[in-house]
Symmetry: C2
Subunit: 237 residues, 2 copies
């Protein structure tokens, strides 16, 4: 008697359609790759009209992005489990990187497309863009957690820069992974296995007296660079 003619199941009329479209897209991307998939094909398989598909997804690209976003959250989850069990930095770092490429595996085929647009400074998808700041923040947060592990000897100033540096390192690994055509991404795995200990060792060397001044200078510059980035470009000066 309270509620008028409003239908009960208000939950998600279109949300389901949206899901159907995304599902169809994922299937087709898997079957034929990004370029081989057409928006018309996606709409067809989802049983909707072309225009309708565009009602839910502004472009073909955001379809891949939505698809890829899954991998990001999956990674956060898996990484969480790694961090809960591993206590040594080295193991933590290796674990975070390995889970990254593992959760990304289903997307390897289109990672090229993703990376492509990511490299474009105009694109909101660029890892350096304003829009992707949240997920970048999440990734560096992960690195903050990583370096809470045992086995790291470092100075406070270097430590402060480490999350960003490790994020960059991770980007490098991903770039390698994208180009890795070996079965089981064996080559990327080797890369991780070999470079993680090196990275940790190099960081630890940073506290050696001979290297101290160098480290200090480098971190000072990094800090400067990072802080300048936060501030919108100054037309003056």
């Amino acid at each position: 008697m309270t509620s008028p003619a409003v239908p009960r199941k208000r939950t998600d009329k279109g949300a389901q359609t949206r899901a159907r479209i995304l599902e169809a897209a994922i299937e087709l991307f898997r079957e034929r790759g990004y370029d081989g998939t057409t928006m018309r094909g996606i709409a067809d398989r989802a049983g909707v009209s072309l225009g309708n598909a565009y009602y839910y997804f502004k472009s073909k690209e955001v379809l891949v992005q939505d698809f890829y976003r899954r991998s990001h959250t999956e990674h956060l989850d898996s990484a969480e489990r790694v961090l809960a069990t591993e206590t040594h930095v080295e193991a933590r770092l290796r674990g975070v990187l390995l889970t990254k490429i593992e959760t990304s595996e289903p997307y390897h085929r289109f990672s090229g497309v993703l990376f492509k647009t990511a490299a474009d400074p105009e694109s909101p998808l660029s890892p350096f863009s304003e829009e992707s700041a949240p997920s970048r923040r999440e990734s560096t947060r992960l690195m903050e957690r990583v370096i809470e592990g045992k086995g790291l000897r470092t100075t406070p100033d270097l430590r402060a820069e480490l999350p960003d540096l490790l994020w960059t390192y991770q980007m490098g690994i991903i770039l390698f992974w994208i180009h890795d055509r070996s079965e089981g991404r064996k080559r990327t795995r080797i890369l991780i296995d070999r470079t993680v200990p090196l990275v940790i060792r190099i960081v630890n060397l940073g506290s050696l007296p001979v290297i101290r001044t160098l480290t200090r200078r480098a971190t000072a510059f990094l800090r400067e660079l990072r802080d300048a980035r936060e501030i919108p470009p100054t037309p003056a000066d």
Copy 2:
């Protein structure tokens, strides 16, 4: 009496048309950017038909590439002049990097497009692809010349890897430059000025006894990685 009815200037019937099209493309890219330029517009301005434009350039992308190739050769020239006058590694490296961003400046606007396709592993434009091996080779050759300068203390094994490492460093600088919106690319210039000395110093540190084993291990791995890349992926093993 020897030559029949054939016109004398046989040199380049179509080569001129080709040039006209490229010229028109460059103008339009400059005026309206990559996306704002259409193949029809290019053909129009060049005074040829659309189909004809495609006869000379397989795609819109290769037009930008041809355009960009100029910058590459220009850079080789400018770098040559730098290497002829500068004797110290640091000055040589800085000079090579500065001329790189300076000769690339006219292309800054589309560098996004270039980099975009370059990041795609499928693309023949990818700096890691077979097709771009020649220009990559030229760039690492340049780095070989750079390290012939004075002021470098290093071991043979590290030295052997340096050209590739410095090429990677240069790629990093370019990535930064692409995203650099500061006037006169001031930020990239600062980046170069600050990091070049650091890089040289780090390399020189590589010969310190404490670091030797680390360097040796790292270079061994790099060599392994590089050599494996030359060999086509082995399906066996």
